[in-house]
């Protein structure tokens, strides 16, 4: 792999780390496997792309984040107030979003941002003309720098949020709903807020992704939930999950590692179409690992006991 490939993969990893943070909120903190992600990701992409085409890339980021937020609230509303099962609530929102995404995109399933200004080109101009930086290395890696800045800022904000009373209430809702209700907190509101926040992160990630790739496609969101899960699982099992901050850093590193592995596999000549199968298998194996382990241990114990009784 060339240095350029590695840097490119790292950039994508930094972008997807933001999405993994969002999925961490639903999957780990709220204990709510949220399938809205596949829809809200594409929503973020198309909103950001349309704004960029209309020369407002920054507004695109803002509105894509808000759009993701609304998508999450929709799922939350369906689940808590309408009593739709959580998996189904996510699927319903995701399915509905497909049509909405097509509408927003002007009935076009894909378009290119080539030749339009993005947050990255603005940032490069800002570095060279406002800060008068002429260092080639910095200017060349302006995307990496901007992404790193964004990730550090959002991770810090999210970490601080989970230390506030509202954040604690959301964490407790995923942990022990009954206790939260007994502490006179509206658990429905906490779930909706958590889903809104999570999908806002997904929307933010998607909006940056589109402007980074200079391209939008209606199928960009497919399988994003599993991508996020893989990053979380890989990250936490390698880099630990002792505290919340530890988990946040782990899943960011996991997202980068995920992209590096993908690039590496592709450079070895793997068919890109096989990648999703590999990821899905990895997630299934890692999640079922503890069960399989106890099963094997039990078998061994039984075999031992049998052997022991024979020798008696």
């Amino acid at each position: 792999m060339s240095l350029n490939t590695i840097l490119g993969a790292t950039e994508l990893g930094l972008i997807f780390a933001i999405m993994s943070l969002g999925i961490y909120i639903t999957f780990k903190i709220l204990n709510f496997p949220d399938l809205t992600v596949d829809g809200s990701f594409t929503l973020g992409c198309v909103v950001s792309g349309i704004f960029a085409i209309n020369h407002h890339p920054f507004l695109g980021i803002l509105f894509a984040t808000l759009a993701g937020c609304f998508a999450g609230m929709m799922t939350g509303f369906l689940h808590t107030k309408m009593k739709v099962q959580y998996i189904l609530a996510g699927i319903i929102t995701m399915t509905g979003l497909y049509s909405i995404n097509l509408k927003i995109g002007g009935s076009k399933p894909n378009f290119s941002l080539y030749g339009f200004e993005t947050i990255f080109s603005h940032f490069r101009n800002f570095l060279s003309s406002t800060l008068h930086i002429s260092n080639e290395v910095i200017l060349k890696n302006h995307k990496l720098i901007l992404l790193l800045l964004i990730l550090i800022i959002v991770t810090t904000l999210l970490y601080l949020f989970f230390k506030t009373q509202s954040g604690l209430a959301i964490r407790a809702t995923g942990n022990n709903e009954e206790m939260v209700r007994a502490s006179s907190i509206n658990t429905d509101a906490m779930k909706i807020a958590g889903l809104a926040l999570a999908n806002a992160f997904v929307g933010l990630c998607a909006s940056i992704y589109t402007q980074h790739q200079m391209f939008y496609d209606i199928s960009q969101g497919i399988g994003m939930m599993v991508v996020g899960l893989t990053s979380i699982i890989v990250g936490e099992s390698i880099f630990g999950k002792r505290t919340l901050l530890n988990s946040f850093i782990s899943l960011s590193l996991g997202a980068i590692l995920y992209r590096l592995l993908l690039s590496y596999a592709l450079s070895l000549g793997m068919d890109p179409n096989d990648w999703k199968l590999l990821c899905a298998s990895l997630v299934a194996i890692v999640i079922s690992f503890p069960t399989v382990k106890t099963y094997i241990q039990k078998r061994q114990k039984r075999a031992k006991a049998k052997g022991g009784s024979k020798s008696c």
């Binding site: 506030t164 009954e178 502490s183 006179s184 658990t187």
Partner: protein, 269 residues
């Protein structure tokens, strides 16, 4: 203080499983009353508590707490006035959060003096609040004050129940509901948690209803005792009557009740 008037609730109405869990129950508590409720399984004790706290909405009758009609109020809104403990010691606290975070959540949210910023966005606890919590939790005498940043999931059942007790009384509630809160603990721990409960209730003069299957406990604590059976209040004893009662006599009430049921059934057959 608390007025429960003609409370009725039927589960699975209109099906073969129809069960009238509460049948015209009326109960009055004065300020500072500590009532114990005994009765066999299915007598409606827990249903009564669940109706008062808002887990179930009663079909008929009304509940007045502190002059406010609360039977249509949502559960989490009632929780501002009502503290609750369940039999399962794991139900009352969040295992993945620390002792301090659990206590902080209970303390901040229930305290209506706090403004929006303090209730929603303020990060962590102030030094004064930390001291206050340390002092509160040291009353439990379990050594938890040194382990404020320990995750609650690592505590024993007894410790968790004591912590839950602290959480639900840290802002003195108008009413405290205890649903067999020592039943899942070993005898020694149960005794200790019960003593702490009595201590807290007496010190803060909290109006309390306690369900128990332990007749001795029901006789030893509180100033009134209620016996429930089949969704009705069978008997009530005031402080003097209760003091004269023995465990055997209470057992006899149970026994009489069950033989009476039997003879009723035989007549029907």
């Amino acid at each position: 203080m608390l007025d429960v008037e003609n409370l009725s609730i039927t589960f699975h109405a209109g099906t073969v499983n129809e069960k009238k869990a509460l049948d015209n129950v009326s109960l009055h508590l004065d300020d500072g009353d500590f009532i114990t409720i005994i009765g066999s399984n299915g007598a409606g004790k827990s249903t009564l508590l669940n109706c008062i706290s808002g887990t179930y909405e009663n079909d008929e009758g009304y509940i007045v707490l502190d002059g406010k009609e609360i039977q249509f109020m949502k559960e989490h809104k009632r929780a501002k006035m009502i503290g609750r403990l369940f039999q399962d010691p794991l139900k009352g606290s969040a295992p993945d959060m620390t002792i301090e975070e659990n206590l902080g959540l209970a303390y901040r949210r229930g305290n209506s003096k706090n403004n929006l910023y303090e209730r929603f966005l303020k990060i962590g606890l102030t030094k004064d609040e930390k001291e206050f919590m340390k002092e509160k939790i040291s009353q439990l005498d379990l050594g938890l004050e040194e382990r404020l940043s320990t995750k609650v999931g690592l505590l024993s059942g007894g410790q968790r129940q004591a912590l839950t007790l602290m959480m639900s009384t840290i802002n003195t509630p108008t009413l405290l509901l205890l649903d067999e809160h020592t039943a899942a603990l070993d005898p020694k721990t149960a005794k200790k948690v019960m003593e702490i409960t009595d201590h807290i209730v007496q010190d803060n003069k909290i109006t309390t209803i306690m369900i128990t299957h332990n007749i001795q406990q029901a006789l030893a604590y509180g100033n009134r005792m209620v016996v429930m059976s089949e969704g009705k209040i069978l008997m009530e004893f005031n402080k003097e009557e209760k003091e004269k009662l023995s465990v055997e006599e209470v057992m006899k009430i149970y026994h009489n009740k069950s033989t009476q049921d039997l003879s009723d059934k035989m007549i029907l057959d």
